[in-house]
C-alpha cells in the first residue's frame, strides 16, 4: 500500500482527536461521581504563584496549594519555618520503615563508608501518594508549639529583663504565633503510601483528608548520624486553575499579586479531589 496525502491527513486528524479524547475522558472520569475528597480552603491555604516578569502576560489564574510538614525538632532552631509552606520538609513520620514501604533502599545508611553513603544518597525522588490534612490535629499541634515557643522566650526575657536580643526574640515569637493563628496554612502532609484505598481507610474523613500524588526523596545523612529521614519534595499538581466564573472572588490583580498576603481579600474555596486524585475548584466565595 502506498502512503498517500489522504492517509497522512486521516492519521493526523485521528492522532489529534485521539489524544484530545484521552485527555478529556480522563478529566471526565476524574470528576465523575462523588469526589474522593472535598476540602474547604481559604486564602491561608491557597495562594497565587509569584508573578514575575516572564509570566506577567499570563491572563490565567492558578492558586497554589500551600502545604506544610510539621517537624517538631526543627521548631526550636528554626522558629520561622512556621511561616512558610509548599517548600518541602522532613516530617518525623517519614522514617526508615515508612521509606522502605515507599520503595527506598535504606540498608546502605547503616554502613559508614563514603561509598555506601553515596549509594544511599543517589536514590532519586519517587512518586507516592500523600495525605493532606486540613485544620486537623497536626495544625493544632503546630499552634501549640508556637504558643510554647512564645512562653519559652518570655521566660528567658523574664530572667534577663534588659537583654535587647531576647526582647527581639519575644517580639518575633509573638509574630510567629500571630501568623500561625491567623495567616499560615492549615494544610499539612501527614502520611504517605502507595495504596490509595489503604490510606483512605486510615483517614476516612474526606472533608479533612485528601489523598494526592506527590514526590518523596531520601534526606542526606548527617555526618555523624545514620538516621534515615525522608523529605516531602512536592505535589504532582501543585496549583489549581481558577475557573473563569469564579475569577472575581479572588480579588483585584494588586491583591492577587500581593506577596505579603496580609492585604489579601479573604475567600473560601471548595476544592474537590476526583477519582484520579486531581483537584478542581467547585465553589468559591468572598468571606
Amino acid at each position: 500500500m502506498n502512503w498517500s496525502r489522504t492517509h497522512t491527513l486521516i492519521a493526523g486528524l485521528g492522532l489529534l482527536a485521539l489524544t484530545n479524547a484521552v485527555a478529556l475522558l480522563g478529566v471526565a472520569y476524574n470528576r465523575s461521581g462523588e469526589p474522593e475528597a472535598t476540602l474547604r480552603l481559604t486564602q491561608r491555604d491557597l495562594r497565587t504563584p509569584y508573578q514575575w516578569r516572564g509570566n506577567r502576560e499570563n491572563s490565567g489564574l492558578a492558586l497554589s496549594l500551600i502545604w506544610r510538614v510539621l517537624n517538631e525538632q526543627s521548631t526550636e532552631t528554626q522558629p520561622y519555618s512556621w511561616r512558610y509552606g509548599g517548600t518541602g520538609g522532613t516530617p518525623p513520620w517519614l522514617d526508615k520503615a515508612k521509606m522502605e514501604t515507599l520503595g527506598f533502599d535504606t540498608s546502605a545508611a547503616a554502613a559508614y563508608s563514603d561509598r555506601s553513603r553515596t549509594r544511599y544518597e543517589k536514590q532519586l525522588p519517587r512518586d507516592v501518594l500523600l495525605v493532606l490534612e486540613l485544620d486537623g490535629p497536626t495544625y493544632q499541634r503546630s499552634l501549640e508549639l508556637a504558643t510554647q515557643y512564645v512562653a519559652r522566650e518570655e521566660a528567658k526575657l523574664a530572667s534577663s529583663p534588659g537583654d535587647q536580643n531576647l526582647g527581639k526574640r519575644v517580639k518575633n515569637a509573638h509574630e510567629a504565633l500571630e501568623s500561625e493563628t491567623s495567616r499560615n496554612s492549615r494544610l499539612f502532609v501527614v502520611d504517605a503510601g502507595l495504596d490509595a484505598a489503604a490510606l483512605r481507610a486510615k483517614y476516612p474523613d474526606a472533608g479533612r483528608y485528601a489523598i494526592v500524588r506527590g514526590q518523596v526523596r531520601l534526606e542526606s545523612l548527617d555526618r555523624n548520624s545514620e538516621k534515615v529521614r525522608g523529605y516531602v519534595s512536592g505535589l504532582s499538581v501543585g496549583s489549581i486553575n481558577v475557573p473563569f466564573a469564579l475569577r472575581d472572588v479572588f480579588g483585584s490583580a494588586e491583591q492577587v499579586n500581593d506577596i505579603d498576603q496580609r492585604n489579601r481579600a479573604p475567600f473560601e474555596a471548595t476544592v474537590a479531589f476526583g477519582k484520579r486524585l486531581e483537584p478542581w475548584i467547585t465553589e468559591a466565595a468572598k468571606k
Binding site: 489524544t19 491572563s59 525522588p125 504532582s236 496549583s239 486531581e278
Partner: protein, 359 residues
C-alpha cells in the same frame, strides 16, 4: 530519471550544472569533443529535465537563485520558530478571559485548523518554505493544546504526552519533508524513552535527566532507525537520526566522564569517570571509523568533535593546574597538528581504497 522530492530534484539540477561546466572545460582543453548532434541532444535533455523540475519543485536553476534560497530557508526557519512562539503567547495572554469550554474549543480549533491549513498550503507551495512555517505552527498548536488542557483541568503531568507530540511531529516531517520537525519529533522521542527508562528504577519521571545513562537506550534506538527503515526518499533524514543518536550517546558520556557520582553504576566515583572517559574515546574513535567506512560524513564529524572534546577535557584535568599556560596551549596546538597528520593518513588511505575499488 524522475525525481520524487524537491531535494532529489535539486541535487540532479546541481549535478547537471557541474557537468556542463566540466564539459566546457574538457572541450576547451581538447580532451573531449562532442558532435553538434550529441551536444544538442544532451542540452535538450537537460533543459527538459530542468524545466520539469522547476515546474514541479521550484528548484534553484542557477547560483543566484541558490543563494536567495539559502536566505529563504533561514527566513523560513526563524519565521517558523517566531510564529510558534507567537501562537503560544497569544493564547497565554487571552486564555484567562474565556470559560473552560471556550478555551478547549479554541485549542481544538487551532490544532485541527492549522493542521488542515498545512495540508492546503503544502498542495500549493512548491518551494516548501510556507509549508515549513505552517507545519511548525501546527506542531506548536498541538503541543499547546495538550499542555493547556493539563493546566486548565489540573491533570497530573505525564511523560506519555511526549509520545503523541513525537508522532505528530514525525508525521508532519515525513509528509512535508521537513528536517526541523524531524528534529522536534526525535527530541520528544528521546525525552519519552529516557523518562520511561528512568521510571523502571522507580524514580519520578521528571528526574530522568539526573541519571545520564537513561539516554543510552534512546541513543542506540535512534542510531539504528535508518538501518532498519529505508530513508532514501528523504534526503538528510538518516543523517539527522545518526547525529541525534550520537549526541544522545556522547553528551551523557561526557557528563559522566566528569561527574561519576550521578551514574547508576555502584562503583567509586573516579572509577566510573575513568570508565566513561575510556568509553568516550573508544566510542568516538569507533564512530570516526564507522563513518569513514560507510561514507557517513556526519558520523565522522560528530565522532571527531567528541573525540577532541574528550581529549581536551582530559588535557585540562591533567595539566591546567600544573603547567604554565603557554605550555598548556602549546600541547593543545601540537595535539591538533598530530590529529591533522592522523586524518591526513586516514584520508590518503580512503583515496587509495577508493582507487583500488574503482580499478
Amino acid at each position: 530519471m524522475s525525481a520524487s522530492s524537491r531535494t532529489e530534484a535539486q541535487q540532479r539540477a546541481d549535478e547537471i550544472r557541474v557537468f556542463q561546466k566540466e564539459l566546457d572545460r574538457l572541450e576547451r582543453e581538447g580532451v573531449l569533443t562532442l558532435s553538434d548532434d550529441q551536444r544538442r541532444a544532451v542540452a535538450e535533455h537537460q533543459r527538459s529535465l530542468l524545466a520539469q523540475y522547476a515546474q514541479a519543485f521550484d528548484i534553484d536553476r542557477d547560483t543566484q537563485s541558490r543563494q536567495l534560497s539559502i536566505g529563504m530557508r533561514v527566513a523560513s526557519f526563524l519565521g517558523a520558530l517566531a510564529l510558534a512562539a507567537s501562537v503560544f503567547f497569544l493564547f497565554y495572554q487571552f486564555w484567562g478571559l474565556f470559560p473552560a469550554t471556550a478555551q478547549v474549543g479554541i485549542l481544538l480549533a487551532a490544532a485541527f485548523g492549522i493542521f488542515g491549513a498545512t495540508f492546503v498550503i503544502q498542495g500549493r507551495d512548491a518551494t516548501g518554505y510556507f509549508t515549513k512555517l505552517a507545519a511548525m505552527v501546527a506542531f506548536a498548536c498541538f503541543v499547546l493544546n495538550i499542555a493547556m488542557l493539563g493546566q486548565i483541568f489540573n491533570i497530573t503531568p505525564s511523560d506519555k504526552a511526549l509520545l503523541p507530540w513525537a508522532a505528530f511531529a514525525l508525521l508532519l516531517a515525513y509528509t512535508c519533508d521537513l528536517r526541523l520537525l524531524l528534529a522536534a519529533g526525535i527530541l520528544c522521542l528521546i525525552a519519552f524513552i529516557s523518562a520511561r527508562t528512568g521510571t523502571w528504577s522507580g524514580m519520578y519521571w521528571l528526574h530522568f535527566g539526573e541519571r545520564p545513562e537513561n539516554f543510552f537506550p534512546a541513543a542506540i534506538a535512534l542510531f539504528f532507525v535508518p538501518q532498519i527503515l529505508d530513508h532514501r526518499r528523504f534526503q538528510g533524514f538518516a543523517a539527522i537520526y545518526r547525529v541525534f543518536g550520537l549526541l544522545t550517546l556522547f553528551l551523557p558520556m561526557l557528563v559522566l566522564a566528569n561527574w561519576g557520582q550521578i551514574s547508576y553504576l555502584d562503583f567509586d566515583r573516579t572509577l566510573i569517570q575513568g570508565f566513561y572517559q575510556v568509553l568516550g574515546f573508544v566510542g568516538s574513535a569507533a564512530a570516526i571509523w564507522l563513518g569513514t567506512r560507510r561514507h557517513w560524513p556526519e558520523v565522522v564529524n560528530t565522532g571527531l568533535t567528541f573525540f577532541v572534546i574528550f581529549l581536551y577535557t582530559k588535557f585540562f584535568d591533567w595539566w591546567w593546574d600544573i603547567m604554565p599556560k603557554y605550555l598548556f596551549f602549546l600541547v593543545i596546538g601540537l595535539s591538533a597538528v598530530l590529529l591533522l597528520f592522523v586524518f591526513k593518513r586516514l584520508r590518503a588511505g580512503g583515496f587509495k581504497a577508493a582507487g583500488e575499488a574503482s580499478a
